[in-house]
Subunit: 570 residues, 2 copies
């Protein structure tokens, strides 16, 4: 079998060693994930502003597609909170309110996002995701969690409220407070309290009762199903739907429909930006879960092939009435803990959700939206974590600034601007820092061959020789700073006859910096000062040889700063 | 006198040592620059699509303002080719054709640009200009020169042609070729040939005739004045203006009018982007001339105060009927060579142009536009220099790509997109490079304390110790690449018990990279491998101490790689 086939279809690889033990393990994990996924898929569709069945559809074919193309053995793909929120924001940007049009927009969004992910995977553009720094992601997830929680409060209260940032949402909620439906609150509040209790206290209680830790953990994850069952039965028995409690209502029964993305090119271009953000955010979240879980079993995942896998999932979602999906954190951990060994577990989960779509949907008629909202609130509040602010404040003010801006802009202006601002600011701060490189005049440490900053260490120097270490690669944005520094040093140290530029930290010299070095060499020659280099790295030297600089250089290139200092002080 | 006053008003500094010798030198330089500037200011106004007098107005008060606020002793401020072309493009973007409105737009553009420059100066944002790399500037100037030359051919032919990129211009010219005015060509072509001869051959001829080189050089610079005088007289005598030769026509006589920028906020916002580009390009051109000339006399200029000086000039231009100005290359060199010693030379030039505006404007009635076009073509063709393509191709493909894209986009889509594409691409390429750092496994060079790349040098290694040098600062975009590299190395070298990360080239570790280091440390510990650092720079170490990383580190931090290798191989 050609290896490129195996690399694009990882299923060909793992399926060869598939046996009955693997099958049993995958099946058990799939059953547990299915139970967890049913309420989640309904709830996240609600969060995205879409009909409940769209969440179910997004949990069938996309999982099968990932099983064929994905490289993670444990990733559980499907609707997730942050991507659902971003889908809601993308659809809101279009200004459409007709439910049918919204579904078409969601399908198209999944399809475009799938194509983008697939393309990025084939072109090996996975590195683009690295520009989302850890602090920016942490800030974005925290702020998104707050917005998501706030957006669900209206379902608990049984009121109408709108807004895609925290401010709009809170204003809208406060205004609607007098219209609160007490019956709805009577359903939602107990569900919320119950779910919080399940998350906080159920697992320790079960362990105390003698259950093994892993089983207790998995049981605790089934809490939402219990809440769904209890509130659905209560609503049906007491006919709460006639008393103002909003329910999911009738959900079409049957397999996912074949759907096609919209043929309206205008819709494609309006959604492209949102699709790109959703793709990148979805990929980053997914790949970090996948990597964490893979490392625990000393497996590796291939990030570029993960792009292909998630791309295939989203294309499948767009073709089967779903909306954008990605790998979910909590769900993947459950899948892993429950013993999933191959992506086949995902395919089995898809069968489970498919059966639910065929047979269980009539039971969802009386499921209160307030219960789903409670599930979402409990799930996302665990995402909210402001400790990143304190950590970055202590460690690096630039990182703090990036995370602070991400949180503030996300809360104030919504998810799309928030993540863009975070990425933009972290790149701008990085460029700013590289444009002001740290430079240190160095001297010899005692009798060693080491040279260190004269301001930090007690070192030997010589008035005839200025040794300057520049702590950055030289490129267009900082070349002029080097020129200025050297002219200043030479102007202050009149007896200097040699300037040695110690290049141990210079990993590159671009064409602009080369021009600056030529200018420095020329100008120092006018002052009667020779210009030398030391500790030039191999790749940098190779490149300098391709220019005329080394011929023009008035001084020499020394292998080490020690050699340079020894030769020139003499 | 408070020093902040002297730093914001450099005139307070140099005026104290002003004496009669300085005065005479400045005056002589001013007379020569005035003679050169009269035809240039008219020609560049024509290039900007503005009435001729606007060029004169832009050469009076702006020069006085620069004399007060500027730090360069030799810079000659006024209308220049590239900025005039950018002004034309900015006005064309507005889609207005009424001459009166165009003048208001030009005045407003100068005013906004002046405010921006002033603000950047006060906020010390001069470093922003460093993001225009040398190759991008070289490519931009070359492409602009070609567009400017092509845009002037219509005046030589006496036809109408439009377009702000080379393609549009050439198509338009070819289409208009049959309408060529032969009388216009009969004036313009000889002027063009004469000016080329002056530039190429007059100076050597004069030197042969016994003139000193400097005088010959300055005489050669007066060529355009001769061409202007000859063709104006010919047009007046033979009444060529009635035969289809377009002339400058009546120019208002008198001092510059007091003008105010438009109060239309919509116009301000439409012009803001163009004003920013004009400000940055104008500043970069100007500051590089100023620095080159200052260095020749071992003077220094202050780039941030230069922003204030150019800002004041442009505000003055906007208040006196002018358009955006900056320091011109050729003109400043003439000023310098003619002996200008202080910015007062600029103020004297302003008086010269003021007198011309008062008394000489009637003489300009018969000045053919074809002559001005010939002046521009000869001046800008010297800017066209494709050698930067060959140089960067040899030295660095990334720089080549940036300059190539700049030239192509400028020629194909105009100046504003061209320069934006160049800057955008060079930043993107820089980010791409930093996201894929060079990493080398290193070993000890013989008995020295040096460690070099095992693939380039014959070095000593030890199977128990993996020493990896990373040749970049660690930050969000490359942190994951380091993780992957280390896991790969450890997977391949099963007997490894220690990984030493040699940080001699690591100038910074941001919060994302810190998380990656923590992950590496943790995961290596799981494999039974200890993680060490060596040659950590002072500022990096200071920062690591503010995190928990050093407490968690399974290995040690060694002062040098030599110490690390000696301790761990034992």
């Amino acid at each position: 079998m050609p290896s490129f086939l195996r690399s694009y279809f990882p299923i060909l690889d793992w399926s060869r060693s598939y046996n009955s033990t693997t099958f049993t393990n995958d099946l058990v994990a799939a059953i547990i994930v299915t139970i967890m996924l049913i309420p989640q898929s309904l709830a996240y569709a609600l969060l995205a502003g879409l009909p409940a069945e769209v969440g179910l559809y997004a949990s069938i074919l996309p999982l099968v597609a990932y099983a064929v193309f994905g490289t993670s053995r444990a990733l559980a793909v499907g609707p997730v909170a942050v991507v659902s929120l971003m889908t809601a924001a993308a659809i809101a940007n279009l200004g459409i309110t007709d439910p049918g049009h919204m579904v078409v927009a969601a399908i198209t969004l999944a399809f475009i996002s799938g194509l983008m992910l697939m393309l990025m995977g084939v072109l090996k553009l996975g590195f683009l995701a690295n520009f989302l720094s850890h602090p920016v992601i942490a800030g974005f997830i925290t702020a998104s969690g707050m917005i998501i929680a706030a957006s669900q409060v209206k379902h608990l209260l049984g009121v109408q409220a709108h807004g895609h940032n925290l401010y709009e949402l809170l204003i809208s909620l406060v205004r609607e407070l007098p219209n609160t439906s007490l019956w709805t609150l009577a359903v939602g509040l107990p569900a919320l309290v119950f779910l919080f209790w399940v998350r906080k206290s159920l697992k320790p209680s079960l362990i105390k009762l003698g259950l093994p830790a892993r089983a207790a953990d998995i049981m605790a994850k089934a809490g939402p199903v219990a809440a769904v069952a209890a509130t659905t039965i209560a609503t049906a028995v007491f006919q709460l739907d006639t008393k103002g409690v909003a329910t999911v209502g009738s959900v079409p029964q049957g397999i996912p429909p074949l759907s096609l993305p919209s043929g309206d090119w205008g819709l494609w271009t309006s959604l492209a930006g949102s699709a790109f953000l959703i793709s990148v955010i979805g990929f980053v979240e997914s790949v970090s879960v996948a990597q964490t879980l893979a490392a625990k079993r000393r497996q590796r995942i291939d990030p570029d092939q993960e792009l292909v896998g998630l791309g295939a999932s989203n294309i499948a979602s767009g073709l089967s009435g779903g909306y954008p999906v990605t790998g979910g954190f909590a769900r993947s951990v459950v899948n892993f803990d429950a013993g999933a060994e191959t992506p086949a577990a995902g395919a089995f989960t898809a069968i489970g959700i498919g059966l639910a779509t065929l047979f269980l949907t009539p039971l969802l008629f009386f499921l209160p939206k307030a219960t789903l909202a409670a599930t979402i609130i409990v799930a996302v509040l665990s995402l909210v974590d402001f400790s990143v602010l304190a950590r970055t404040w202590r460690y690096s003010k630039a990182d703090f600034l990036a995370v602070f801006a991400t949180i503030l802009v996300t809360l104030g202006f919504g998810v799309e601007l928030g993540v863009s601002a975070g990425v933009g600011l972290s790149i701008a701060l990085f460029l700013y820092k590289t444009s002001r490189p740290h430079m240190a005049v160095v001297g010899q440490v005692g009798d060693t061959e080491h040279f260190r900053n004269v301001e930090r260490h007690s070192v030997v120097t010589c008035p005839k020789v200025i040794s300057l270490r520049v702590d950055r690669s030289l490129y267009f944005a900082n070349a002029r700073a080097l020129e200025n520094k050297i002219y200043d040093l030479v102007a202050r140290q009149r007896e200097a006859k040699h300037v040695v530029l110690m290049c141990s930290a210079v990993n590159e010299i671009d064409a602009s910096a080369l021009e600056s070095l030529e200018a420095i060499n020329q100008r120092l020659a006018d002052f009667g000062v020779k210009f030398h280099l030391s500790e030039v790295k191999g790749p940098v030297m190779d490149r300098l040889r391709r220019s005329h600089f080394l011929q023009q250089l008035t001084g020499r290139v020394f292998l080490s700063q020690f050699d340079a200092f020894a030769a020139l002080r003499a």
